[in-house]
Symmetry: C2
Subunit: 147 residues, 2 copies
Amino acid sequence: MAQMSKSYRHGQILKLIRGQAISTQEELAAELKKTGVETTQVTLSRDIRELGLVKTPDGYRQMSRKHGGPDLDTILAEFLQDVRVAQNLLVLKTSPGHASSLAIALDQEEWDEVVGTIAGDDTVLVIAPDAGTAQTLHGRLLGNLGE
Amino acid sequence: MAQMSKSYRHGQILKLIRGQAISTQEELAAELKKTGVETTQVTLSRDIRELGLVKTPDGYRQMSRKHGGPDLDTILAEFLQDVRVAQNLLVLKTSPGHASSLAIALDQEEWDEVVGTIAGDDTVLVIAPDAGTAQTLHGRLLGNLGE
DNA sequence: AATTATTATTCAGCACTATGAATAATAATA
DNA sequence: TATTATTATTCATAGTGCTGAATAATAATT
C-alpha cells in the first residue's frame, strides 16, 4: 500500500489537523503514515498551500473554506458534454450524475457573470444577468475547453 | 479553437446521431467539425466503442445506456477523501459537492457487494448486505486508490 | 475475385499531473 | 551572530491519458 490519491491525502490531512495539534510537516508525514498514506515533506508543503492551511499555536488549521476539489478546467474537461444558451440562461449538459460536481466547481470560481446555478442529474442551469452575458459565458466555457 | 475535451466530443457525437443518420466515421468527423470539434476517424473509432454505439440502417445508434463518464478509479482518485465503516454501512467523504459523482460511478460498476447508495453533498452512504462485506468494500475502495 | 470503402489497431509522441531528491529560503533557537 | 529547524522551490522523472499517422483487418461493392 504505497500511494494514495492526492484527494484522499487531503481528506486525511484535514481529519488529522482537526483532531490534534500538528506543528511541523514532518510530524504530519508521520501521522499520515499511520493512516496508510506515505508521503514526504515536499508534497505536504504543497498540500498545505493548496488547502490554505495556516500555522497557529495549536498547530495547522484551516482558516479559509478552501475546498480542495479539482479546478473548473478539470471538471469541464471531464464532464461537460453540451452548452446551450436560451436568453439569459445557459443549459450545461454533463454525463449523467455529474451535474452537481460541475455546478460546485463553477460556483467556487465566483465569476461575476454567474448570478447562480441549479444542478439536477445531468443538467446545470446557469443564470446570467442578461442574454449578452450568457453569450459571453458560453464562449468562456467552451474557450476553457479548447485550451 | 483546435481541441475539445473527450467528454464534450462524446456529448456532441450523441447529439448528432440522435438528430441525423450518420453512417460512416468520416461523415461523423465532418459533422463534428461543424460543431467546432476537430478530430479524426481514429479517435472516433475509439469513441464509438466507448459509447457502445452500433451501426444500424439509420446510422449509428446508442443501444446500451452506456454513460460515457469517467470510470470509478478516476473518480475515486479525484474525489474520495475518507472511508469509514459502521456495521453494514460505509460512509464515503468527498470534496464538497462531489458526492453524487462518486455515487453514480459506484452504481455503474454494479458490484454485487453494494446493495445501494445514497448521496448527499459531500457524503455517500454505501449499503452493504452485512458488516463483513462492508469491510471487504472498504479494502477494495482503498485498494483501488493504492494502485 | 478484385477493388474500394470502412473500421480497428499499433506505434509514436505530446501534454499534463504528481511526486521526491536536492537545495534554497525562511524562521526559530541558542 | 551562528546554528538548527522548518518550509518552499527547483529540477528531474514516472505514469497516465489522449491523439493522429500509418497500417492491418474487415466489410461492402463491382
